[in-house]
């Protein structure tokens, strides 16, 4: 089909800058964002700010409003109230111009299963206004980056879950967007694919891409994000670096499963000097909050050994999303409305 009809300079969409934005404006800035679905207030006054080149993680349980926030910021949904600007462009008024500068990899991979991997990327490139040859070249480049070269000519329906995610992410990167939105990028991936995706996101960050990602996992937010915003029921209930949030949680938990439950008082006494708060025991497991990770386990083993306490199992448990929630809200993270997740 003819390409002479394409008015755009193919390079235009690939320019990696913030042409329309005043230079000091943050990459993403959100004020008082509200979005309701009938009775449900999916977003209830969200404020966010992401400096250029930074990675922000929206951390929250199912139904917290993460996807809704991403959909508003990527021009898929119009907010009921509030404003949101991305690279200085209003998500409602300047939607068309904004779409040239953002990439989205949604919660579910949006790939055409009947097209090949390469076919998908060529299609997306051409819809950005690139000529076929340029779109093809860019597609091959991305397939190489994402280790999909071997599968380039296979229909996407033959891809594994991890490959689909990678193809979807590649599609989001076709026009080299300065701001990238990733909605639960690793949910449902096996540990190896998860790690690979983390590395990809780190590379993008190193190249100066601003990233907003959503996740249900504290360790993911911890590893990738400069700043974490904890969302619950449509509002941001805490924000800060992962260290700041962990401080509010009081560090990690040491858990010791005893061989003999009646030895609990002895074990508690032996371990008490390691924590600022007294240890607690439940069902033969002694647990206490500890600060540093280095040497903690060795020290605990030594102390228990000296006290003559037999141990079945012992380990450090990193704080989970549940711990964050428990400490921030006093209620556990509820897995709300799983069936609504198809939106």
């Amino acid at each position: 089909m003819t390409t002479t009809l394409v008015p755009n300079d193919p390079q235009e969409a690939a320019v990696h800058d913030f042409t329309d934005a005043p230079t000091d404006e943050p990459a993403i800035s959100v004020r008082g964002l509200v979005k309701s679905f009938g009775e449900v207030r999916a977003l209830d006054g969200v404020d966010l700010e992401v400096p250029r080149g930074a990675v922000l993680a929206l951390l929250g349980p199912n139904g917290a409003g993460k996807t809704t926030a991403v959909r508003v910021l990527t021009t898929l949904l119009e907010p009921d109230a509030g404003t949101a600007r991305v690279v200085g462009l209003d998500v409602v008024r300047d939607a068309r111009a904004l779409r040239e500068r953002i990439g989205l990899a949604g919660q579910y991979a949006a790939v055409d299963e009947n097209l090949t991997g390469l076919g998908n990327l060529i299609m997306v490139g051409r819809l950005y206004g690139m000529r076929r040859a340029a779109a093809r070249e860019r597609g091959l480049e991305l397939l190489a980056d994402f280790e999909l070269m071997d599968a380039a000519k296979r229909p996407a329906k033959t891809y594994s879950g991890g490959m689909r995610r990678r193809l979807d992410l590649a599609a989001a990167l076709v026009a080299r967007p300065p701001v990238l939105f990733l909605d639960e990028p690793t949910t449902g991936l096996d540990p190896r694919s998860r790690l690979a995706l983390w590395e990809t996101i780190e590379t993008l960050k190193a190249d100066g891409t601003t990233v907003l990602l959503t996740t249900q996992y504290l360790d993911e937010a911890d590893r990738l994000a400069d700043t974490i915003a904890v969302v619950d029921r449509g509002s941001v209930i805490a924000r800060g670096t992962s260290d700041e949030l962990k401080d509010r949680l009081g560090g990690e938990r040491l858990e010791v499963r005893l061989a003999d439950a009646t030895a609990a008082p002895i074990a508690e006494r032996a371990l008490a000097p390691m924590s600022e708060e007294p240890p607690t025991t439940q069902d033969g497991t002694v647990s206490l909050t500890v600060r540093g990770r280095d040497g903690t386990i060795v020290e605990a083993v030594r102390r228990l050994d000296e006290a003559g306490v037999g141990v079945l199992d012992l380990g450090l448990r990193r704080p989970t999303l549940d711990d964050v929630f428990l400490s921030l809200t006093g209620h556990v993270a509820e897995a709300a409305d799983d069936e609504e997740e198809t939106a």
Partner: protein
């Protein structure tokens, strides 16, 4: 505007590429209509009286119209998949012309309709169909078929956007369109039907389009059939295209 044209071409090319990778669809467009022609011509042909025509000549315009009307099925299935699998979210984050998604689908149907028309005509000529028409009328008939098929693509577009799965698009579409095509002059003369059915067949747009095709290709008395068929096609489009566009907007902004 030129963006709309180029994006529409990109997407209809994408929709057509499916014919290459999904052989089941190609079979639906080629083998199935041929099978229908052969079954009707040789199984029912001897039993159905069509005064003034050989049954083959009578049958071919009817079965071609039926086939073209069903051509829009690909649009129903394809759009349904785009919505349920989230592909329209990808499209909607791209700086492309929004109308191109629907335009690309319906345009691809025109191409597949032409393909199945050519195959049907070739089969028809082999088993003894003969035109009683000049080149101009033959071409006008093809034009009318394409217009009518395009109008039905919008009916199927709406259907594909309203149902929850490709399977239900399939069965609902069949349920709605199949009886319409049979209670018409496509396969048997309307005069041979009982009162109520004959009345319905008389006003059925399919009858009008089939009669128009017979007027163009077989030199049957035209009456107002040809103009009637054009008007019907435009009316169907005028009703269903805006409905489909509206439904698309709703589905996309969930």
């Amino acid at each position: 505007m030129s963006r709309l044209v180029s994006d529409t071409l990109v997407l209809s090319e994408r929709n057509l590429s499916r014919l290459r990778t999904a052989p089941d669809l190609l079979i639906a467009f080629t083998v199935q209509p041929v099978m229908f022609v052969l079954l009707f011509a040789f199984v029912f042909g001897g039993a159905i009286q069509t005064p003034g025509y050989d049954y083959i000549d009578f049958l071919i315009p009817g079965i071609i119209v039926q086939n073209i009307a069903f051509g829009g099925f690909v649009t129903a299935l394809g759009l349904n998949e785009d919505v349920t699998k989230g592909l329209i979210d990808r499209f909607r984050t791209l700086p492309m012309a929004r109308a191109a998604v629907l335009a690309g689908r319906t345009l691809a149907d025109v191409v597949t309709n032409l393909l199945s028309l050519l195959i049907l005509l070739a089969t028809a000529l082999i088993i003894g169909f003969s035109f009683d028409a000049g080149a101009g009328e033959i071409v006008a008939g093809i034009g009318l078929l394409m217009l009518f098929g395009y109008a039905f693509s919008w009916v199927f577009a709406l259907l594909g956007l309203m149902v929850s799965s490709p399977e239900s698009a399939n069965s609902l579409g069949f349920l709605a369109v199949f009886p319409l095509t049979f209670i018409s002059s496509a396969f048997v003369p309307v005069e041979s039907m009982p009162g109520g059915l004959a009345w319905f067949a008389e006003i059925n747009p399919f009858t009008i389009v089939v009669d128009a095709m017979r007027a163009l290709w077989l030199d049957a008395p035209a009456g107002n059939a040809v103009w009637g068929a054009v008007v019907w096609s435009l009316v169907i489009m005028a009703i269903f295209a805006p409905l489909a566009v509206r439904r698309y907007r709703l589905a996309a902004a969930r």
